[in-house]
Symmetry: C2
Subunit: 360 residues, 2 copies
């Protein structure tokens, strides 16, 4: 097992990464001395795969544990479902020292974290992420949230888990398209922080796509290390944490324009990373080589990099100007200077943005 610590003073917590460790969660949580009631929140698909393992492990260590299932899909990450979960928690008399366990991907993790942050003004929660995206991104860093009908993640909080427990074996039951979508965020860490990690991802692409245990552990560990380093310096996204949004300014606009149905999150981010690299070249910051290396990497992991022709650049532009990160003033882009280093760029001329968006 690898253990990383996210350093946030009295809100610090460990990220534990290993193969086949799911059944160890009960013993680990027993050592953490929460009160004996635990609620596992999951969705039917994930729970049918891993529910027994987790519940047995908890039951061996705890007196009482129960579960609440949320239907599959982003559309259930909403205020109403969080109210439903609170009802279940109250009905089962969870107290302020209790702990919630999020077993699933980003939807389950974000919703569980949000409920944990507001139930009786805050109780403990533990992340058991089962998708690559959740393992390298959403389960680490304390962003919680649910969607509002007027916008994604508009209701939420910064609220840290007490533990992130990553069993890399859960990736074996993940659809390949989902796995590759998660790889977009892994590639992102290479571009924004660590050129040699980027090289590793290129060099080891066959092992990674083949779900080699050591390779998976390496990429998840390095991704979490980078995310933890960034979050430790800027928990509430007041400054440098914004670099984690590389690819996301355009990526979110693509997701909004296509109603979150055409692309997986990582796929939209992949296109965003490529176009934001192109923007960097237009601004004469990155060179041609940087842009093409990013594009080649996306190709290797079967991720899209071009904007489909039927998506209007004006529509994307409008979504970007309404983004919650944009509202604070002006549009903000994270653009690569070279592989391993990005900058936060504001004041970009709309013509330059449109040139980056339009297929060359």
């Amino acid at each position: 097992m690898d253990i990383l610590t996210v350093n946030l003073g009295n809100r610090s917590y460990d990220i534990v990464i290993g193969s086949g460790i799911l059944s160890g969660i009960g013993e680990k949580m027993r050592q953490m001395r929460f009160s004996p009631k635990v609620c596992v929140i999951s969705n039917p698909a994930v729970f049918s795969l891993y529910g027994d393992t987790v519940m047995s492990s908890l039951e061996e260590a705890y007196l009482e544990c129960f579960h609440v299932l949320i239907p599959d899909g982003e559309e259930y990450k909403n205020f109403q479902q969080s109210y439903h979960v609170v009802t279940e928690l109250l009905g089962n008399k969870l107290d302020r020292q209790s702990c919630l366990v999020a077993l699933g991907g980003g939807v389950i993790g974000d919703l569980t974290g949000f409920v944990a942050s507001v139930y009786m003004r805050g109780i403990h929660f533990v992340q058991l992420p089962t998708t690559l995206l959740a393992q390298v991104d959403s389960s680490v860093g304390g962003k919680t949230g649910v969607n509002h009908h007027l916008g994604k993640n508009m209701i939420g909080s910064f609220y840290q888990p007490r533990l992130v427990w990553i069993d890399t074996d859960t990736l074996r039951t993940l659809a390949q398209r989902q796995f590759l979508s998660g790889m977009a965020e892994v590639i992102k860490y290479g571009v924004i922080w660590d050129g040699s990690f980027f090289d590793y991802l290129m060099r080891k692409n066959q092992k990674i796509i083949g779900l080699d245990r050591d390779a998976l552990r390496t990429i998840i560990k390095r991704s979490c290390q980078i995310k933890a380093a960034v979050v430790s310096q800027d928990e509430r996204e007041e400054g440098m944490r914004a670099i984690l949004n590389y690819g996301h300014t355009i990526g979110h606009a693509i997701e909004t324009e296509t109603n979150y149905t055409r692309f997986l999150h990582g796929e939209a981010v992949a296109i965003g990373m490529h176009l934001e690299a192109r923007l960097s070249r237009i601004l004469k910051i990155a060179d041609d080589g940087t842009v093409s290396r990013i594009r080649e990497m996306l190709d290797v992991y079967s991720l899209p990099s071009a904007l489909p022709k039927d998506i209007q650049c004006n529509a994307l532009f409008k979504h970007m100007s309404l983004d919650k990160k944009t509202l604070e003033g002006q549009m903000k882009f994270i653009i690569p200077e070279q592989i391993g280093k990005v900058r936060i760029q504001t004041g970009v001329h709309p013509d330059d943005i449109k040139e980056a968006l339009n297929p060359a």
Copy 2:
């Protein structure tokens, strides 16, 4: 104007107390450099009295300001209303540097604070409390929350305002019963923290009930000082903050049993304070004099101290055992040792509790 500071590191904020200062809020907020959009949240009754003053003051200092009204009453402090407020904020494009202003009593303050804590993962908010209860209690300390149909304040957060701005003149339009209900919390501060303040409340009772400006400023300032001192030491109620719940263990049970319709909050707390003092005497901790001084004080401020005969002590006992503070293990009572000093008592025998509840 008096200025107190609640010391909570980078979440510290000022409490400003004065007579006729409402119209100064715009200039003060301008100096705090939030983004130029401000939303005032209030209820129709309060807004008809003070809305113009506040909106004009803000408009003189800000480019844009609008308001959202919540119907009067505790039953509207719920999840659905908070969703409604979020919808209004999104529709008006409030951004992450925007500020909400809570203009009203505890319901408005708690709901506004909750929305501020979850809108886009947290935006600024300012408290403009207009009731005595809100001025000396709910606006200070960062407890926010809304009700769930299974329990009061079950959904909420610890989230500090950026400023508490108290205009004591707003108490002139407050119904006397509401004012006196607020006095219960003021008396509480004397019992738990400061015997000479308790004496002051007895000595100056006519001036206080007559809304003498200096007396009001004195009692509000001292109450806020005590609350700030306690909260600074224990923001998230993990230890000594519990002393603020003196009178509330029994008080909440009375409110629950009477469906929150028969007694105002302070009235229920007044009965609770007297009965919890009686419990202290039964446990041979407080003497007869302490109990009778508390009872006399409640009489002077026309507050109830006895449990009405139609309220069953078994029913109260059941509510207490379901309280969210009780669930953590055992029932917890804050009981006076003498005027100015309380202790946190667990392990009280049910017979002693029932003896305290039963009219002697």
